[in-house]
């Protein structure tokens, strides 16, 4: 009987106890961390700390989207400021009829699309500079800088990046946006459609056109 009791205690100590502890930790965390709806409501009432927490939840992704799309830290910085100031001024209009994530990304994608359209009109390539070795994307150069590395691989990478860069430039702003959100941000086409105020089917067609353009430019290179 003593052995059975010891076994039962062993089972309790090794399985049940950690589960109880984990549940306790989780419950404490849930109790101390306000959920998003609570944060939004607090921010709507003017709670600066709640607003800051909301910003910090999403701002890395927002900055990444802006960097990927516009390939310029200056433009990315402008988009960040414009997006979150717009969120700050319009948060009172958020009525919880979609997720905050979707609402925020709707704002961000609209601003990015405006920038991309203006850039298309101006035919601006703010990050590309002429060098004695040909055009160079400063951003790629920055991203790839680092000690060591195979020179041949580096040249091939550079050519690949140039090809991808030119393929991306050929996309329409909307195709560019759908492609960015699906390929780099990993969002589902249904969400992308919702963010861009269109249907999943339209987003699907947009992604298809984008991938076809990429394929025609990169197909012979890869």
């Amino acid at each position: 009987l003593g052995g059975v009791a010891r076994d039962l205690f062993g089972v309790y100590a090794s399985i049940v106890l950690p589960m109880v502890l984990a549940a306790g930790v989780l419950a404490t965390r849930m109790a101390t961390q306000p959920d998003e709806a609570t944060l939004i409501r607090a921010a709507q009432r003017g709670d600066a700390e709640a607003f800051e927490t909301l910003v910090r939840t999403y701002d890395q992704n927002v900055l990444r989207i802006a960097m990927n799309l516009l390939r310029s830290p200056e433009d990315a910085r402008d988009i960040y400021q414009e997006a979150f100031l717009r969120v700050y001024k319009n948060l009172h209009t958020f009525r919880f009829d979609c997720s905050f994530h979707t609402w925020l990304y709707r704002i961000v994608t609209n601003i990015c699309l405006d920038h991309l359209r203006k850039r298309k009109v101006r035919r601006e390539e703010s990050t590309v500079i002429d060098t004695p070795e040909g055009p160079l994307d400063r951003i790629d150069h920055f991203a790839q800088e680092g000690p060591g590395g195979d020179p041949e691989r580096h040249t091939w990478n550079r050519q690949l990046q140039e090809k991808i860069g030119s393929a991306l430039e050929d996309l329409s702003p909307r195709e560019r946006m759908v492609f960015e959100l699906r390929h780099y941000q990993g969002l589902r086409l249904r969400n992308i459609g919702e963010m861009l105020g269109t249907s999943e089917e339209a987003a699907k067609n947009c992604l298809f056109r984008a991938t076809q353009k990429m394929r025609s430019v990169l197909g012979e290179f890869v």
């Binding site: 990046q161 298809f208 890869v222």
Partner: protein, 313 residues
């Protein structure tokens, strides 16, 4: 499914955006069709190549953006601030703001009418209770004066006794060489509840960092301020004094302990503006412990330019 349909389905298949039925059809077809299998391999390679294009956000940019946002929000006019919007007022503001073509003349007429009726209908209002407040509620909320109600008690006489905490706002204008202005800025630099005010005040104090109390405040902020934007501003102010022992000692601590890579990079830049061999050991130490690739690269460059080895032996 025909080959043409398969070729169309491949990109969406690669993104996992097809139904399980289509997924199976694509896989079955590719298994038995060499041309489509070749197209699939090619599209998969393009898909993978595109992954290499993903950007990394430059170190420090996020922190800069957060600092800028804090400053910009601090400058948002009161009526546009979060928490200021409410029901009917909000609706009316939106209505006026969004495209009523006559909004300017209508608003002007409304203001004239309000002014007229306000002058007719209001005047000094006196309470019947001796010794009580003689201003209206509107009087408590005028510019430069704010109050909060501490307690409310009903009196046996049927009147109400209200206790208020009052704060008077005062505006002070002056130049940065005015000692009083600097004193106020120093107080603002440690205003713990408002990071925006701290950023603004430290941004101004860095213009007069030749004064020792200001420099001491900047050193304190760079070490202890919880907001990276404030620490960043304080670092900028210390750049011209990078040769001073106290400053270098503090910067070494920042480099070893600050949790923000942007601040650490800025610290390296400040230290680089006045090189000395005493920093080599600290930089070597940082190089061994640093997790952030970009910060490590900056430290490495700094050490190489000082003709120092990366490690200690």
């Amino acid at each position: 499914m025909k080959c043409e349909d398969i070729v169309h389905a491949i990109p969406l298949y690669l993104y996992g955006e097809v139904t399980p039925v289509v997924e199976e059809l694509v896989e079955d077809h590719i298994a038995g069709c060499a041309a489509c299998a070749q197209e699939f391999t090619l599209q998969k390679a393009v898909h993978a190549a595109l992954d290499t294009r993903e950007m990394t956000v430059p170190a420090g940019l996020l922190q800069e953006c957060r600092g800028d946002l804090t400053r910009k929000i601090a400058r948002v006019p009161e009526h546009q601030r979060a928490g200021h919007h409410s029901g009917v007022g909000d609706w009316l503001r939106d209505l006026l703001h969004h495209g009523i073509p006559m909004r300017v003349p209508v608003s002007a007429m409304a203001l004239i009418a309000i002014g007229y009726f306000a002058a007719r209908l209001t005047g000094p209002v006196h309470s019947d209770v001796p010794g009580s407040l003689t201003t209206t509620n509107a009087g408590l909320e005028n510019a430069g004066f704010s109050s909060s109600i501490r307690s409310i008690e009903s009196q046996p006489s049927g009147s109400v006794r209200i206790a208020l905490d009052e704060t008077h706002r005062r505006e002070v204008t002056g130049r940065l060489d005015d000692e009083k202005i600097v004193r106020l800025l120093l107080a603002a630099a440690s205003e713990e509840n408002n990071a925006g005010i701290r950023v603004e005040s430290v941004g101004m104090l860095k213009e007069c960092a030749q004064s020792s109390p200001v420099r001491a405040a900047l050193l304190d902020r760079v070490l202890h301020d919880p907001n990276a934007g404030v620490r960043w501003k304080a670092l900028e102010g210390l750049k011209a004094f990078a040769g001073e022992t106290a400053v270098r000692k503090t910067l070494a601590q920042v480099l070893l302990h600050d949790d923000n890579p942007g601040v650490r990079i800025e610290t390296i830049e400040v230290l680089e503006s006045h090189r000395d061999d005493a920093m080599v050991g600290i930089l070597q130490d940082v190089f061994q412990k640093e997790d952030n690739h970009y910060v490590r690269t900056r430290v490495q460059n700094a050490l190489q330019e000082m003709h120092a080895t990366l490690g200690t032996f």
